[in-house]
């Protein structure tokens, strides 16, 4: 079985720093490849003119979700969920934080990762956004004693979403994959309506892509009985 650096408490070592740098290289490369070094392309998601954010992000989420689920299904060989750092659910902080973040995202048309990509592509608006985001972090530290009750409000500990909604893990994954596929088709349709261009709408590629992911989600039922997770 693989020992993750987190599971052996080695995230603070220099080899972890080097591996994080390499993973960052892959992260930045794909963000830029997706066209996320352009604030205009990112902002397009909010005006239904360019839905790349939804397509790339949702594809990445279900790819990692399904990939990890298949590795977990062979947990004794590969990896188990307790070897991965699972963030706690803290409703107050994450709801207010999310609502605030959305306003900042719509205004600035960057988020922290994409702004790093934008800076690499020479965007001055990404540079000022990043400097400001450093300032926002400092502001948070300065008023932390006042914000602390909200920061810890509604703490549920680690709460898996399938437990929260009372589904089996595999059922939730299938529902989530269906939502993602629906989001892809709706995104293509919205682009077609708004801009007249929808290269992937009803394309053979999108049909096969959708079916492959749904098949992968269904396939999990054959590997892991719902009761085991």
């Amino acid at each position: 079985m693989i020992d993750t650096l987190y599971s052996i408490d080695a995230l603070g070592t220099s080899s972890a720093f080097f591996l994080a740098l390499l993973i960052g290289l892959g992260f930045g490369f794909t963000l830029e490849r997706a066209g996320f070094s352009s604030s205009r392309r990112l902002a397009g998601v909010f005006y239904f003119t360019d839905m790349a954010v939804v397509k790339v992000m949702f594809t990445a989420i279900i790819t990692a979700m399904l990939g990890l689920s298949y590795l977990l299904a062979f947990g004794w060989i590969w990896i188990q969920l307790d070897q991965i750092f699972l963030m706690p659910t803290i409703y107050g902080a994450q709801i207010v934080g999310g609502l605030l973040f959305g306003v900042g995202f719509a205004m600035g048309a960057w988020c922290p990762g994409t702004a790093a990509a934008g800076l690499a592509a020479g965007r001055i608006d990404a540079l000022v956004f990043l400097i400001s985001a450093v300032g926002g972090s400092i502001l948070f530290n300065e008023i932390f004693p006042w914000i602390r009750p909200l920061y810890e409000y509604g703490n549920q500990g680690v709460l898996m979403v399938y437990d929260a909604v009372g589904m089996s893990r595999n059922t939730f994954i299938l529902v989530f994959t269906l939502i993602a596929v629906a989001a892809f088709w709706l995104s293509e349709w919205a682009e077609k309506v708004r801009t007249g261009r929808g290269p992937y709408l009803e394309s053979l590629f999108l049909i096969i892509f959708s079916l492959v992911y749904l098949a992968l989600a269904v396939g999990l039922f054959f590997l892991t009985p719902p009761a085991s997770l």
Partner: protein, 177 residues
Amino acid sequence: MTSETCKLQERPSPYVNPYLTGILLGLVLLASFVILGTGLGASGGIARIGAWFSLHLSASHTLGSEYFGKWGAKPLNYYLVFMFVGTFAGALVSALLNNRVRFQVERGIASSVSLRLVYSIAGGLIVGFASRLARGCTSGQGLTGGALLLTGSLVFLVCVFVSGYATAWLFRRQWND
């Protein structure tokens, strides 16, 4: 070489298939889970730079503060700082390969530079603050927590898009052509 072909070469490459790029991003995230045991993150690196800056303004104040204080005197010795540097470098490679490096304030043609910069500055401030409150951004909560099927992360992601869609109309003028 004619000026025509020269112009063609100066053009940025068109964007590739977003779904295939999404698969690639998902595999990077999966590699991060398997190797590091944590997902991707970006705002964590930014916050560490904030703590470093704060230390240089006033070391005693920063070390005594409740939030930055626990990161100690060397806040940059953290894996997410290195991941952030990697993110910048990886994006630079792709931007150079695809001829997409442009030193500009990106905005609508009919929009003013100052309006776009004001929105970038205000948006950055809000995003920097909100990422600390939510313990992560679209990378650390959205992508990572989403793929791990963590309730709070998915709630965060829904809230981001609800408020983004609810308010984007107010900020649309920066993209006017």
